[in-house]
């Protein structure tokens, strides 16, 4: 086995058990794992975002290799940029299979405006970028939400609840009972979210039924998600079991013994210190008496 695989297994075991050690309490092993996780992920995602989104999709569309012509203004600017970094702006344009779309200057400008927040006197410029993102998302998603959450919901609920060609009761397939349940549940659930009237009388009863429906669906969702989490836990244990083999020099066992040993020793020392308080603590308690 390669040294890098063995080292990777040791690091993975250490980080996994370090994170699990939080179940005991916050401790230096958890802190190391947490800070590494946060720092590495932030750096990694920044790099990933730049090389998989910004460079190919933005610069790749502004300066594609396909239309490279050093005499044009665009590629004159590109050549200047290329002088500073040939890895981002390789010679002869960026070859990512895109055509040139100068409309992408707009996101480039918005991005630069976001960066302007680093200069206090120009920080207001960042608001334009935020306004664009929020406005664009609102407009784009309004149609989708209206289609799926409003019209789709009406369509999905509008079924023939007296369709006696279906079985009266079935849990796993369409039935009269299920159709009735969907009809009542949707209407009562919707009425629970009616805010401008006190929930009394008929509305109160309907909204109470609605909240029961919601809670039952939340319970089912909870159980389903817990099952998913258990499978994630099994995934981690599978890795730990794999790394506990002789191929990896018993990484899991050694790391486990090390962490448990150090935490146990720290707990023992802590308990000992608590058992024999320092003189100034004793004296202060006497003063209170």
């Amino acid at each position: 086995m390669e040294f890098s695989s063995i080292l990777g297994a040791w690091v993975a075991s250490f980080l996994t058990i370090g994170i699990f050690s939080y179940l005991y309490k916050d401790n230096p092993f958890y802190k190391i794992a947490e800070h590494l996780f946060v720092g590495v992920s932030a750096g990694y995602l920044l790099s990933l975002g730049f090389w998989t989104q910004l460079q190919p999709n933005l610069f790749g569309r502004l300066f594609p290799a396909k239309h490279y012509d050093p005499d044009t203004l665009t590629y004159s600017i590109y050549n200047i940029l290329s002088f500073f970094s040939t890895s981002i702006f390789p010679e002869g344009g960026i070859d990512k299979g895109h055509d040139q779309h100068l409309i992408y200057v707009i996101p480039l400008i918005l991005g630069i405006m976001m960066l302007m927040s680093l200069i206090p006197s120009f920080s207001w410029m960042a608001r334009w970028g935020i306004a664009y993102v929020v406005g664009m998302a609102a407009g784009l998603k309004a149609y989708g939400y209206l289609n799926s959450n409003v019209i789709g919901q009406i369509k999905g609920t509008a079924v023939n609840i007296f369709d006696f060609s279906l079985p009266i009761f079935s849990l796993s397939s369409p039935s009269v009972f299920n159709n009735l349940l969907i009809f009542i549940g949707t209407i009562c659930g919707l009425l629970y979210f009616y805010f401008s009237k006190e929930h009394k009388g008929m509305l109160g009863k309907a909204s109470k039924i609605g909240i029961y429906f919601l809670m039952i669906s939340f319970g089912a969702s909870f159980g389903f998600a817990v099952m998913g989490r258990i499978s994630l836990l099994i995934g981690r244990f599978t890795d730990l079991i794999l790394f506990s083999g002789s191929d990896y020099h018993y990484a899991t066992y050694w790391v486990l013994v090390l962490i448990v040993g150090i935490l146990g020793y720290a707990a023992f020392k802590e308990q000992k210190n608590e058992g024999f308080p320092e003189p100034n603590i004793l004296s202060s308690s006497n003063e209170e008496e």
Binding site: L146, I151, K155, I187
Partner: protein, 287 residues
């Protein structure tokens, strides 16, 4: 806009549309007429009630316990001298929940400025960081305490979901905030956050429309704003007439949807059992 201007503007648009329709309505996708009617109807309802509220008409809003608890949580943090942790979800500003979360953050920041309580907002997206900072800055300025605002109260951790959860957990166990608020779009990290908040004894208020995460918040938090309650939070907290009018308008839309469901079901029964009327399912299909 004044009433007269509004109605004249609306009439001009209506007349122009009629001319366009009579002229053969080129480029109009007739298959999507249901969507067109819905957008017009819903927009008109919202505009009507928002304008009514602006004119001074008062609308009743039933109390929502979780929103009352927000001020209590800020008060509790003040008494205990501990910070408030506000998590605006893990998604970007293109998610409606994140936008709602940042809006509610503005109200919470106003309270923390008023009570001189420290606020900690770890975020997982750069644009959210900028928006949240602006929201907090405005809140502290409006409350007359710009000196209390510092940019580091809203700080970036990481974009990665579980690394962010680990980072927020670390903040919780070390700073021991008296109140934790989770308002935004959440995924699998919701239970990790809420459980840790519970273990440090913080009062916890959550608000999200992420259907799969609501159960976790309901189990681990003291109060949870479910779906629409979360979107109405801003109106409740600000008590601004135009926002309250918007909530009233949304209520009317819900009544309309309820009526549409009942009517569609009746039409469906008639169509399938007696062959009378139209197939509403086909009519509602957007192509």
């Amino acid at each position: 806009m004044k009433d007269k201007q509004f109605w004249v503007g609306s009439a001009i648009i209506a007349v122009l549309f009629l001319i366009y329709w009579v002229a053969g309505h080129p480029y109009f996708v007739t298959d999507r007429i249901v969507m067109f009617i819905s957008i017009i109807f819903l927009s008109a309802t919202l505009i009507f009630y928002t304008r009514a509220a602006e004119r001074g008409e008062e609308f009743f809003l039933r109390p929502i316990p979780a929103l009352k608890a927000v001020e209590e949580a800020v008060g509790r943090s003040t008494e205990m001298g501990r910070p408030i942790l506000y998590v605006p979800g893990i998604q970007d500003m293109d998610q409606v929940e994140t936008v709602a979360g940042v809006v509610v953050l503005g109200h919470v920041a106003k309270m923390t400025a008023r009570y001189e309580t420290s606020l900690n907002v770890p975020v997982s997206r750069s644009i959210v960081m900028k928006a949240a900072r602006e929201s907090c800055r405005d809140a502290y300025t409006v409350e007359g305490r710009p000196d209390m605002f510092n940019e580091d109260m809203v700080h970036y951790l990481t974009d990665d979901q579980f690394a962010y959860a680990a980072g927020v957990n670390g903040i919780m166990v070390r700073e021991k905030p008296a109140a934790c608020m989770y308002m935004g779009k959440f995924y699998a990290e919701s239970l990790i956050l809420a459980e840790t908040g519970n273990s440090i004894g913080a009062i916890q208020i959550a608000g999200t429309a992420s259907q799969a995460q609501i159960p976790f918040f309901v189990t681990a938090c003291d109060y949870t704003l479910i779906g629409e309650e979360f979107f109405a939070a801003s109106a409740y907290l600000s008590q601004k007439p135009e926002l309250i009018g918007g909530v009233k308008g949304q209520d009317m839309i819900k009544l309309f949807v309820t009526a549409a469901i009942v009517l569609s079901t009746i039409l469906m029964i008639l169509f399938e059992t007696a062959g009378v009327g139209i197939n509403i399912s086909d009519f509602l299909t957007i192509r």
